[in-house]
Each structure stands twice: as structure tokens, then as C-alpha cells.
């Protein structure tokens, strides 16, 4: 405790000095000024402190790794990072940046996910991989199936006790690529977002300003470090703030979400958060008597982002944890994406989240947002004001024209937080990152693919969906065509072009729905095979894509709607499904009769 008080002034003194520096430059200065101050604590699966990393240790260990990396290959080489939850990842990441290498944080590949992992390694042309000693042999084995992919491995935890390497100079906060973020793109075509040193510094500063954070803003995070939220928010923001951060593994949180809340209480955290499901899960898993003595009154900002923010969840969470000192104004819905490094909008802090009920029909047909306080209104939650360092525009995707407030269109973002593009995909990069608004030449915008509007009375960004029928499951993009293809391939009686997959987003939970058009042969067979067929379809989709098809609906021959060019009209099928206007073959009745 004494050490903490002594370093507070030193940490505070760097606030202005670090504002425009690269994140490794900031780390070096903080390591010089307050080496003993704790940067990270890591909690084990029971919530007990397992490991600690001070600012001084973080710098020393990062330089030791950088020195090894610098001895092989050249600047700009990609280096894959395979790390379990813990404190070894961050020093390896900084080691890459200090050596001028491009870090590529990746999820640990299970046997099932090895294909996606190999595609990414091939896509970025990676020749070197970092991990910890305990995982090295297993990873070598799993990833050795590809002879074209010779990887040189280094277990960085073996360098833990090395002395600081001399002569390591942090890069400036410029346009050089710091890391590749592989969260966009499908499994078959991974897309690596190129995030620069300048992007990182800009985005960290944007969050610091928007949420009024400083060295006293202790944080608790459990998000995986290979994801943009876990990396930028959980691992890098603390370095700019000079605060103390408590980390735990995603599995610790999911198995026992109350450990997260308990950590917020014990470490007097100011900032903590996650996607909407995290709040849902914590409220679901709460039981009377658990968390007695827990005090959430220090918690000032509960970030809610990376997924649809649901008003019902906000209410449930506040009702469940209000007695422990949690305040409803703590909840801070926000918006961001890897293509903008992370953060785009969120705030103002300490105010109630904005919830609007809009006329869904007017929004869909006219692109106009009107309030509808009746039962048919669609509830949307405001995702906050855009950072004042960027410009956010709502644009008609058809003609590129700027739209006014309360008009529905695509969200476009402009500013230094926009990533450089997608790794080695010049055409897709130009289309996504180099858009211009009609009649406003000279200013480049990044197209988010998200549909939303800016509130006329509050200036907040409200999100209403995605362009291109894209399905988003657990933060992953899923293309409906891919899922439909899998379904068609799963059984010979399901014919090509006979299937529409979409998301039913009416309830609290998003459900994937597959509408399958039966031809005469399938219709005849259905009473016998419907149950087994549904199982087979679910099995195939789950194996291929790792997601659940909640509802499988068989419809009468020739009732699947298609365009004149033969394309399946998914949004029309979705509309018909929600209005119960599909010509459904009632298999259950047929089954009972049989």
C-alpha cells in the first residue's frame, strides 16, 4: 500500500508528457519514473493472485525479448503470439513492437480451429512464433501439419529473469504497423487489420479523454488478449494511464462471473466491462448469499460494447447488483471496431444510458427514425457520443450522400484512429478505408458496415444492424451463404438454393433461423426423417461454423422467395418468418399422426 501512495504523484506527473508517445515509449518512461508500481495482477481460476508485473519488470522483460527478436530477420517481419491468459503475453507483444516486428496475436488453436489458424499464418507470411514453454511442444505438433509453414519457435517465459537489454529504443508513434488484428473476415478468407503505432496512441488517448481516466482509474478485465477489446482496453490502456490493472482469464469469468465482481470490489476498480452477455451472465449466475460484503461503489464505468446493447440487460443487472452499491449511471454503452483500432463512441460518463423506442416500420421503409412509444416500437440503446478526435457521419450507402440526424444509414468514421487497411488486400482496403462522402472530396472515411443513426436530441450513435445480412456470433462475422452451403451439403434431400439463414433478433437472445424449402420428395419424406434431419443439419453447421441453429423451419415447395436473378431474399424471408406468414410444413403434427 505504501509503495502505491509513493508512486501516485510520479504516475500523475506523466499525464501530459505521454499523450502523443508510442505505447512502448510510454512504458519506458513509466518504468524509469515508477518501476516498482504494479502494472498488472493476474488472478487464477479461484480469483487468487497468481502473478504480478510491475512497470519496471514489464520494460525489462520486453527489452530482453526484443533483443532476441532483433537478432533474426528484419523490421516489419510478422511474429505470431500464442499465449494462454496470463502476464507473459503483454511482454512478448511489447518485445515485438520494440524490435520493430509486427505482432500477430492469435487464439490458441484447438484441433478443431487449426485450419483457421493455419490460414492466418499463411496470410500474414509468418515465420516466427512466440509462446510459453508449457505450450511449445503441443503447438509445434498441432501446427506441423503444414510443411510450407516453417515456424521458428521461441518460449519467452524462459527469458523472464534476463537483465534489461541495452540499446533498445522504442519506435515513434508513427504510421508503422504495430500489429495485425485478425477478427474480421470469414474463416476461409481471414482479414488482418493493420494497426499502426499512431493508431494505438490515438485510440488510447481518445478513451482516456472520453471517460475522464487517469492513473487512479484501476481496472479489471477478463477479455482474451487476442481480441481487440482485450488487447487495447485490457492490456494497452493501463500503460497510458499508469494505473493498476487486474486481469483474469476468460474461462475464469465464464465459469464463475462473480469472481469478476468480487475483484472489482476488492481492488476498488473504477473501470470494468465487456460485451452485453457478460452482464447477462453475471445477473443469471448470481445467487443469494454470494458476494456478501462485496462493495461495487467504486465502479464508475461499466463498459458495454462489442455486441448489441440490450435495455433489458441493463435493467436486470442494476436490479440484481444495486444492493451491492452498483449505480445504473455506471453503465456506459459504447461502440467500436478493430478497423478503428477499437473505440469510436461512448459517453458522456456518469449519465443514464439513452434508451429510445423507435418505429421499426418507418425506419425500414423510409430510413427515418421516429419515436414509437406503443407496443410495436423497437428499443435501441444509445452507444454514446463519438470521440471529439474523430468525425462520424451517417451516409446513404447507395449514393454516398451524407444524411442528417435521425436518418438511418451506414456509419462512417474519419480520423487518425482508422487502421491502415487490411494486410495485403489493396482493393478491399481501398473500398473500406478510402471512402469519400459525395460532394466532400479530400476526406477519407472508413466504412463500418454498421447501420445506425445519430440522435437529433443527444448526438449519440444508435446502431440498428449490419449491412449485407452478415451474422455476428460471439464477435465473429459469419456469412449466411457459408452456413446455407453447409446445410445444403448436409443431406442429399436438401437441394441447392433451397435455404435461407438469418438472425431472429426480436427476443432478448439472437437466434439463428434456417428456413429450408422442401421439394416434393423431401416433403413426402419429412414425417419420417424430420427429427433426424434437423439433428443432421445442426451437427453439420456446428462442426463447420461452431454455432447453433435455433430454429429449423421446413416450408412448402416453391415458396422460398428469390430475386429475378435467383438470389435468395433473406431479409424478406426473415420478415415473413417474423409475421408467421411462411407456408410451413407442420412436421410435428405429421409425426404425431404417424
Amino acid at each position: 500500500m505504501d509503495a502505491r501512495i509513493e508512486t501516485d504523484d510520479l504516475a500523475a506527473g506523466l499525464y501530459d508528457e505521454v499523450s502523443a508517445l508510442s505505447v512502448t515509449d510510454i512504458l519506458q518512461r513509466r518504468a524509469e519514473r515508477h518501476p516498482q508500481r504494479v502494472l498488472f495482477r493476474f488472478l487464477d481460476e479461484h480469483g487468487r493472485e497468481e502473478d504480478v508485473l510491475t512497470y519496471g519488470d514489464a520494460w525489462r522483460r520486453s527489452t530482453a525479448i526484443a533483443a532476441v527478436l532483433a537478432a533474426h530477420g528484419g523490421p516489419g517481419d510478422r511474429v505470431a503470439l500464442f499465449y494462454p491468459a496470463g502476464l507473459d503475453f503483454i511482454v512478448a507483444f511489447f518485445g515485438c513492437l520494440l524490435a520493430g516486428r509486427v505482432a500477430v496475436p492469435l487464439n490458441l488453436p484447438s484441433r478443431r480451429r487449426v485450419d483457421r489458424c493455419l490460414r492466418i499464418l499463411r496470410d500474414c507470411g509468418c515465420r516466427r512464433a512466440l509462446t510459453v514453454s508449457s505450450l511449445e511442444a503441443g503447438l509445434r505438433d498441432i501446427l506441423s501439419v503444414d510443411a510450407d509453414l516453417p515456424l521458428a519457435w521461441l518460449a519467452t517465459d524462459a527469458l523472464r529473469e534476463e537483465a534489461e537489454a541495452a540499446g533498445i529504443v522504442p519506435p515513434p508513434a508513427d504510421e508503422r504497423i504495430a500489429f495485425l488484428q485478425y477478427t474480421s473476415g470469414s474463416t476461409s478468407h481471414p482479414k488482418g487489420v493493420m494497426v499502426s503505432q499512431l493508431n494505438i496512441t490515438t485510440n488510447l488517448r481518445m478513451m482516456r479523454t472520453a471517460w475522464e481516466l487517469d492513473h487512479t482509474s484501476n481496472t479489471v478485465f477478463w477479455q482474451p488478449h487476442h481480441h481487440d477489446m482485450g488487447l487495447i482496453l485490457g492490456q494497452l490502456l493501463p500503460v497510458m494511464l499508469g494505473n493498476e490493472t487486474v486481469l483474469m482469464g476468460p474461462n475464469t469469468f465464464v465459469r464463475q462471473p462473480l469472481i469478476w465482481l468480487d475483484a472489482i470490489s476488492r481492488y476498488r476498480a473504477v473501470l470494468a466491462g465487456g460485451p452485453n452477455f457478460a452482464y447477462e451472465l453475471a445477473a443469471q449466475r448470481w445467487q443469494p448469499g454470494r458476494l456478501d460484503g462485496c462493495d461495487l461503489s467504486s465502479w464508475r464505468i461499466a463498459l458495454n460494447g462489442a455486441d448489441v446493447v440490450r435495455a433489458a440487460t441493463l435493467e436486470r443487472f442494476a436490479a440484481t447488483f444495486g444492493a451491492l452499491g452498483y449505480r445504473p449511471t455506471t453503465m456506459l454503452p459504447c461502440y467500436g471496431l478493430a478497423e478503428a483500432t477499437l473505440f469510436v463512441s461512448g459517453g458522456p460518463v456518469y449519465e443514464m444510458p439513452r434508451v429510445r423506442s423507435i418505429d421499426a416500420h418507418a425506419a425500414e421503409t423510409e430510413g427515418r427514425v421516429r419515436d414509437d412509444l406503443g407496443a410495436s416500437g423497437r428499443t435501441v440503446v444509445g452507444c454514446g457520443l463519438p470521440s471529439d478526435e474523430i468525425e462520424v457521419a451517417i451516409v446513404d450507402p447507395a449514393n454516398g450522400e451524407r444524411l442528417g440526424c435521425d436518418r438511418l444509414g451506414e456509419v462512417w468514421v474519419s480520423g487518425d484512429t482508422n487502421a491502415l487497411g487490411y494486410w495485403q488486400l489493396p482493393e478491399q482496403s481501398a473500398a473500406t478505408f478510402g471512402a469519400e462522402i459525395a460532394g466532400e472530396p479530400g476526406r477519407r472515411y472508413m466504412r463500418t458496415g454498421d447501420i445506425g443513426f445519430i440522435g437529433a436530441d443527444d448526438g449519440q450513435i444508435y446502431l440498428c444492424g449490419r449491412m449485407k445480412d452478415l451474422l455476428i456470433v460471439d464477435g465473429r462475422n459469419l456469412h449466411p451463404e457459408d452456413v446455407e452451403y453447409t446445410i445444403v451439403e448436409s443431406h442429399p434431400l436438401i437441394k441447392p438454393q433451397s435455404c435461407a439463414v438469418f438472425e431472429d433478433d426480436r427476443g432478448e437472445q439472437r437466434r439463428l433461423v434456417a428456413v429450408i424449402e422442401a421439394d416434393r420428395e423431401l416433403k413426402r419424406a419429412l414425417p419420417e426423417i424430420a427429427r433426424a434431419l434437423r439433428m443432421q443439419v445442426r451437427r453439420a453447421v456446428s462442426e463447420e461454423h461452431g454455432v447453433a441453429i435455433a430454429d429449423i423451419v421446413f416450408i412448402a415447395p416453391a415458396t422460398l422467395r428469390k430475386t429475378t436473378s435467383g438470389k435468395v431474399q433473406r431479409s424478406l424471408m426473415k420478415q415473413l418468418h417474423q409475421q408467421s406468414a411462411l407456408d410451413v410444413i407442420d412436421v410435428a403434427v405429421a409425426l404425431d399422426a404417424a
Binding site: 465464464v254 464463475q256 460471439d474 445442426r538 435455433a550
Partner: protein, 85 residues
């Protein structure tokens, strides 16, 4: 004491709740992965079983016993061992 049957019902309801698959479509002998249960949800299930039955379970239990039938039996045996001790 919690019966295997009760635990199987709890697991089936959990899968239906988390994945949206109707409970009557969930087969006792089918691999839970077939219902799109991801690794995160598998850990959520282990934690929920621990909460509900007051037992300590290995996080990878669902991967060792991947069907409703196998998993409910495994949990019932552990619950019995805990109360017996």
C-alpha cells in the same frame, strides 16, 4: 440428493436456453457440440452445475463427457461422493 434425471433436465434446459435449440430436439446421446455449444458456453455450463449442485468440477468436464447422459451421470457421481465425504 440430486438424481441423474434431475441433472439431465438441468443440462437440457441450459443448452436450450443458451443456444435457442428447443429442448425437445436435444437428444440424450448426442454430442453437445452438435447444438452449437461453444467452448465458452461449456465452461459456463460447468460453473452453473457447480453452483446448482454444490460440487467442484474440472473445467474440461464437458469435453470428457460430451453428451447429456454421460455428463449427468458424471455430475451425479461427483455429487454423491461430495455428500458422502
Amino acid at each position: 440428493m440430486s438424481t441423474e434425471h434431475d441433472i439431465a433436465d438441468f443440462i437440457t434446459t441450459f443448452i436450450a436456453d443458451r443456444t435457442g435449440v428447443p429442448a425437445h430436439d436435444i437428444e440424450p446421446e448426442e454430442n453437445l457440440g452438435s447444438y452449437g455449444l461453444g467452448s465458452m458456453q461449456a465452461v459456463d455450463l460447468v460453473g452453473s452445475l457447480e453452483d446448482r449442485y454444490g460440487v467442484s468440477l474440472p473445467p474440461a468436464l464437458v469435453f470428457q463427457y460430451p453428451t447429456v447422459r454421460e455428463l449427468s451421470l458424471a455430475v451425479a457421481q461427483r455429487a454423491a461422493a461430495t455428500t458422502g465425504a
